[in-house]
Amino acid sequence: MDSDEQLMIRVQAGDEDAVTELVTRWRARLYGFLVRRAPDVADDLFQETWIRVVRAAERFDPSRRFSTWLFQIANNLCRDRARRRAVEESYRHSVREEIRHDAGRLDPPPLDLRLDMHRRVHALPERLREVLLLRYYHRLSEAEIADTVGIPRGTVKSRLHHAVRALRQQMAEADA
């Protein structure tokens, strides 16, 4: 059976069966990552990630692990989507503020303080969430996460610890 990296060499040569094999192998792990990372757009990003894999196939270095490269692409797409959303949200917020100012009757929705763990993870800041998901669920090493996310290894470690402590803090606050 070909390794992931060998399959990517075949993809570079235009082999459609190799793409199918990679999608089949990695579909559940990639989708599991996306569902936790960006739940409401996971379906879109799943397809987008694989299209990027094909389009960028020639830039893949077979001496690197395919999984690191795949998660790097997926994570970058999640970041782009989050950035776009932040801009849209900022615009919506300014519109809401304007309406509130005009009408004085738009209250924010009540915040559910007893979030389940899935929502707690999703509530973590982006920079903490991405490293936690890659380390805990996908068991990438700190070096691989550093490579995937593009930050120093020491930063990966500190963000991981920060993420765990933030989850613990959230749970303590919910229990209080």
Binding site: G32, F46, V54, S63, R168
Partner: protein
């Protein structure tokens, strides 16, 4: 707890164990039995672990996988026709191989120029001019040919080495 107590290290290792899905080390567990802060963290981390679960995989809907496969195949066909791409790492290997010859190239050129310039004057006492010109031309051809052979072979060597490395890492 201060930075000087063992708690800092113990707590870091407790978190590392959670992240790696490992059990905490016995000495750290023993310490946390006798330390309120570390015991609280240990218990909290057990809750966090239980809440996080371990299942990284989630099956996407089969219809979505099918749509994705169609989209990727279409993207693959639309890709520009592949000219034989240089293997990844070729440029780096070539640069590495070129470094030493390029470093000594000025010296080699200087040496050859010196030989041609002064060699002719030295031989002028014994040989006719035509013979000196012929010798000079032969020397210049030999020197130029050697340089061309050395520098011309480097891309071939770099390509071979890169291909070999790719075969090794993907074997």
């Amino acid at each position: 707890m201060s930075a000087n107590t063992p708690c800092v290290g113990v707590q870091e290792r407790l978190i590392e164990a959670l992240l790696a899905h490992d059990e905490a080390a016995a000495p750290d567990l023993a310490h946390s039995e006798s330390c309120d802060a570390c015991r609280t963290l240990r218990d909290d981390l057990l809750h966090v672990r239980a809440g996080l679960g371990t299942d990284a995989e989630q099956e996407p809907a089969p219809a979505m996988v099918q749509r994705t496969l169609l989209a990727t195949r279409s993207a693959l066909r639309r890709r520009a026709p592949a000219r034989a791409p240089l293997p990844v790492g070729f440029k780096r290997e070539l640069a590495r191989l070129l470094a030493a010859p390029l470093a000594v190239l000025p010296l080699v050129l200087l040496w050859n120029w010196t030989v041609l310039a002064f060699g002719g004057e030295l031989l002028a006492a014994w040989l006719p001019t035509a013979a000196i010109v012929a010798l000079g031309a032969a020397y210049a051809l030999a020197a130029g040919g050697s340089l061309a052979a050395v520098f011309g072979s480097l891309p071939v060597v770099a390509h071979g080495r890169t291909q070999q490395r790719l075969r090794e890492v993907t074997a």
